[in-house]
Symmetry: C2
Subunit: 436 residues, 2 copies
């Protein structure tokens, strides 16, 4: 019995005490409600995908966890991996269920995803994302590109978070601008620009002059858009002022202006046009989203997404354009937890603890609990007939707000102790309601 198994937490796999997890769960409940309020239907895809589906659009550098059966026979090669986002799975799901879905298909998914990253501050290897996506056949109206950040802004408001402005960019602006500069390998350049927040301006310039071999002046000009952030459509003027022109650039500016205008009714600072947003995934083809906490921008994006016009085409001969956005719930939660900004909930969902004074009173206390539960009041009984003070201390520790004393003597009444007010009074079990 001395050779105990290692139970030290494995880095990057977050796990919480009940009083913290209860907060996270209330967040997912609130987010779900906002998603459903706009008609997004819940679905769930399996955590395990074929490896070749996960390796979509050349994303071979994703840190995918592959699965092997511990007792697998030789030669058995499952070629299965854990999903690392919910976007590739929904594209596969839509292609697979094409004939049974009604389009535009609007769905949300609140699930864990896994990435085999090297553990580092703010990075998780298992984390929860809350995604909404809309996918249509052939064409997907641009107003959905505005609906995504609108719904997320509503979620963030309901969670009562520190300030977040959702940045909205457009891949066509960046791509068109780079093409206008005469750059050919725009994909590689965009991937490097996407690292701006992580490695800083000088390092991005240095990388751009290396692999894609831009000359220093072009590298600097390639970065010119990244400083343009406007609350309204004035970003267009700022881009034109640089003097680079390209048809794709104009198309992107027009799209982004439409999206920003659609969101004019949102509270100030809820969204902004932000041309520094590149997004690392190759599958984005137009609008892109990204958001961080204003007060700790270095802690990484907590919202991300964009439009992908061709993601499902790897599975099916259909044009199925989509747009989606993801709330990085675990990361968001983790950032606030690290700053001590999460207020603990109670350890138990119970509203009432029923006291058990003497062994003989067992049926009285279980019967009392049953009446309260049938009335919708969350109730637990203390588990042993010990000193009342110990039982009350248990309620105190678990944060249970009311302690109930059933009538143990003939003719006596139910009594209830309000733990916060520190008062005790008679109660009518058929009508008593816990105050909030």
């Amino acid at each position: 019995m001395t050779n105990k198994k290692n139970m030290t937490p494995v880095g990057g796999f977050p796990e919480y005490l009940p009083e913290i997890h209860a907060v996270e769960q209330s967040w997912t409940d609130r987010i779900r409600k906002v998603f459903e309020a706009s008609g997004y239907a819940p679905i769930e895809t399996v955590a395990v995908e074929r490896l070749d589906a996960l390796l979509a659009k050349g994303e071979t550098d994703k840190e995918i966890y592959t699965l092997t059966r511990l007792q697998a026979e030789e030669d058995e090669n499952a070629k299965l991996g854990l999903h690392f986002d919910l976007t590739i799975p929904v594209a596969r799901y839509v292609a697979q269920n094409f004939n049974d879905l009604t389009f535009p298909f609007k769905r949300y998914q609140i699930q864990k995803v896994w990435r085999g990253e090297r553990p580092q501050v703010g990075r998780y290897r298992e984390f929860r994302q809350c995604d909404i996506d809309v996918i249509n056949v052939d064409n997907l109206p641009l107003h959905f590109d505005a609906e995504m950040p609108e719904i997320v802004a509503e979620c963030l408001m309901r969670l009562d978070l520190p300030p977040v402005t959702i940045g909205i960019g457009n891949r066509k602006i960046l791509d068109g601008y780079l093409q206008g500069l005469g750059i050919e390998d725009t994909v590689s350049v965009i991937r490097i620009i996407d690292k701006l927040d992580k490695i800083g301006f000088d390092e991005v310039i240095a990388e751009l002059t290396k692999a894609p071999a831009l000359d220093p002046d072009t590298a600097r000009r390639a970065m010119a858009l990244t400083t343009i952030k406007t609350a309204d459509t004035s970003f267009a003027k700022a881009v034109h002022a640089i003097g680079v022109t390209h048809p794709l650039l104009d198309e992107g500016i027009e799209e982004l202006a439409f999206v920003i205008k659609e969101l004019a009714h949102l509270p100030a600072d809820a969204i902004q046009a932000d041309l520094s947003i590149a997004r690392g995934f190759d599958y984005y083809t137009g609008t892109v989203y990204e958001a961080r906490f204003k007060d700790f921008p270095g802690a990484g994006a907590i919202v991300a997404g964009g439009r992908y016009d061709n993601l499902a085409s790897q599975f099916i001969n259909k044009k199925l354009p989509g747009v989606g956005i993801s709330i990085g719930l675990s990361r968001m939660f983790g950032q606030l937890l690290a700053k001590n900004l999460i207020a603990k909930a109670q350890q138990s969902p119970s509203q009432v603890l029923v006291i058990w004074p003497r062994n003989a009173d067992r049926e009285c206390i279980t019967g009392t609990a049953r009446i309260l539960r049938a009335r919708g009041i969350r109730t637990e009984c203390y588990h042993a007939p010990v000193k009342i003070q110990r039982q009350i201390a248990y309620a105190e520790k678990k944060g249970i707000p009311f302690v109930w004393f059933p009538p143990f003597e003939p003719g006596s009444m139910h009594e209830v102790k309000d733990m916060k007010a520190r008062t005790q009074s008679q109660a009518d079990i058929e009508n008593w309601e816990p105050s909030k």
Copy 2:
């Protein structure tokens, strides 16, 4: 573009259309509510555990999925695996957080688990379980062994399922009885007896005479308890009538009689004493639970669990006895789905679809939707200004019960069409409520 990726579902990984998943989600919501009504707190453990934690109590024959990083360096050996149940994880969690938890620790977990089984009818490789467990320090009162099936019986009632009787047995009865027969390797014998439902009586007898090498008469006597199933405590008499005696057998009978008596208030057929229950996991030390649908018992257990007095001791030098029960939600759901007993929900959570007749009316329809949403009514707008009939057909397909016509002409009124009643009438947007 002709070389499409394989999107055929991988066997054993169930995934549903929105109208089916919505039902599954409503089930987990209802189960959660019942668990919380008795004071069980939600927690979540990570899906990934150290492999040696998963290989608890000699359970090396579990079909564990191990994880490898796709881009792992040579020699890197994570020794991580996906959890295959929620009992070993909670034992590890309690040991790890021992100083921060309040005991008795009552928690529920509704999570996916994974088993690398060979795909076969009714077996899943990814599936959801809904577990409650209570774990205490040193001693755990026996009345919790009654609370487990009581809470699950309540869950099953709330789901409005075909009849299920939860069988309750006790490992001590089986173990003591086998010892009373003079059998030494009771663990191996119990593992074989556990296969009764899968392989049948004759095959069990054949196996018992092989590896544990029982003589045919002892093998048959070892099976004598498996026919004893009683609604009350009369099982005790039936056991005594066999004439085998052992102190452990007496202890088990006493425990089971206590549990059955505690549950006398439940509706008839909710529970029964069932001495055929063995349970494959070695970690059970007393009470064991198992339930199947009465109408299709061959489809496998949908509820299982039991008491484990030593599970956490592999991690910590404490005595942390526990008892728990698990609803095999995916399996239960899958069995009913296979029998066409799941009534589809609507494809969309929307209560209202707002019609978009002309491009110019965009602001009017989004404004209308915002008012309805602010009033708590789940509302989506049709996505394009096409023929009204197409828009109504969309509501019909998605099962959206009301179609809303905002006032597009000055002086006209809001109107709402009830899709079921096929009536259309004026509506006051500030007071209208969707009927159920």
